[in-house]
Symmetry: C2
Amino acid sequence: MSPEKRLAPYGDYSLQAAAERILTRHRDHIRTQKPHVAVAKLSKILEATLKLSNRQGFQAMSLRDLAEAAGLSMGGLYSYFDGKETLLVMILGEVSSAAETLLEAAPDDVRADPVAHLEWLIAMHVLLSEAMQPFFVFAYMEAKSFPAPARKRAIASEAATEAIFARVLAEGVARGVFKVDDPDFAAALIKPLLQDWYVKRPKYAKRGVSAEAYAAGVSDFILKALGAR
Amino acid sequence: MSPEKRLAPYGDYSLQAAAERILTRHRDHIRTQKPHVAVAKLSKILEATLKLSNRQGFQAMSLRDLAEAAGLSMGGLYSYFDGKETLLVMILGEVSSAAETLLEAAPDDVRADPVAHLEWLIAMHVLLSEAMQPFFVFAYMEAKSFPAPARKRAIASEAATEAIFARVLAEGVARGVFKVDDPDFAAALIKPLLQDWYVKRPKYAKRGVSAEAYAAGVSDFILKALGAR
DNA sequence: TGAAAAAACGAGCGAGCGCTCGATTTATTA
DNA sequence: TAATAAATCGAGCGCTCGCTCGTTTTTTCA
């Protein structure tokens, strides 16, 4: 099993694949005609944006620095987006789209068992945020500077994720597998544990904790807190 | 028992008190002579900085907007700091100083029992971050744009907090109260649960969860995960 | 009350920002 | 290979930024 396969079981989360999806989503605002040219340059732009933004913040990243890092001129950049804010929206859209698609994709046999379902959700979230780490860090750190509609969507997306967890927890409580007073509150506590993986990545890297090990450790911690172990 | 007393048992966490401590810490760089004038204006500056920064980010806050919000002129601001970055460092210093001081102040009878000590640490962290919420949000959100020395200190401060939790956990394991394979890993998972309180405050406010209720809920969740309940 | 000290003012500075657009290079095709 | 289309270039525009400093207002106290 290849590492990519293992880390991102459902879908292709490479930069190129992301660039292709973004190109499709914003085709009418991107002036460059030939898809292979557009995808290649867009990949470079995304890579450079994530690198510069995650170091100093999106706001502090100048388009001149971005142009140089991406190997384009100032004017060249504007063939791929119509303003700095659009670049932000492109990346955010890719993150929430990937998360929403993946977390709803649990196989039926997994859904059948609340414990298995919960473990699956945790593992998938950790592995997805591992495969798309710079994207997730970006979306998390820049959330407050999103334009209003994008911020609303981000909040809704986060609430939807939490609702998925809450549903699984409630189901487990109904079946007597989980012993929890307030499933909604417990669901609210799961999200920050998942976010810590990509937000504080250097900490875990320094300790040699892999994505799989983190997912297993967090699963164990949460299941014990839910009275399932 | 007054709410302030209940929420912040050790020390005064009002804006004025913070301004006084900051004035003491930066006396030689603040041009205004009379302490009561300096503290009053500094309070206004702090309040306005936290308000504007936590809405749009420190970098995006202009000093012209800050001056207006604080009731001073552009030139007037520079009697209180020698540059925008110093303002950031002032606030960061106040946060880490408050956290370090408080968390080391556990009474002996609390320290004697790992469960009580852990509960005390959780409650104090939640209540402190409640009393100084805008400060904590600021420090958390702007961490990546700190100047290098301040960032190092912030990371060290976070590691120190985690080490306190790890020590209590190890002690509990040694006494057979906690059943945990890896106390360091478990300690790493506690921090994000404490941070969620102030980072995602609107979420909990909407649900009517008070600081005390959050501290109790998180304590319960963690103690169950540690096998102590 | 009036002169000295303290505090606050705000127009103006150089720099860097996002963004534009006519000129130029590169790729395509008859 | 010449003509056309596609892609890229980068100096320049208007604007806002952090910051300065000579001036004005306020406070202090003999």
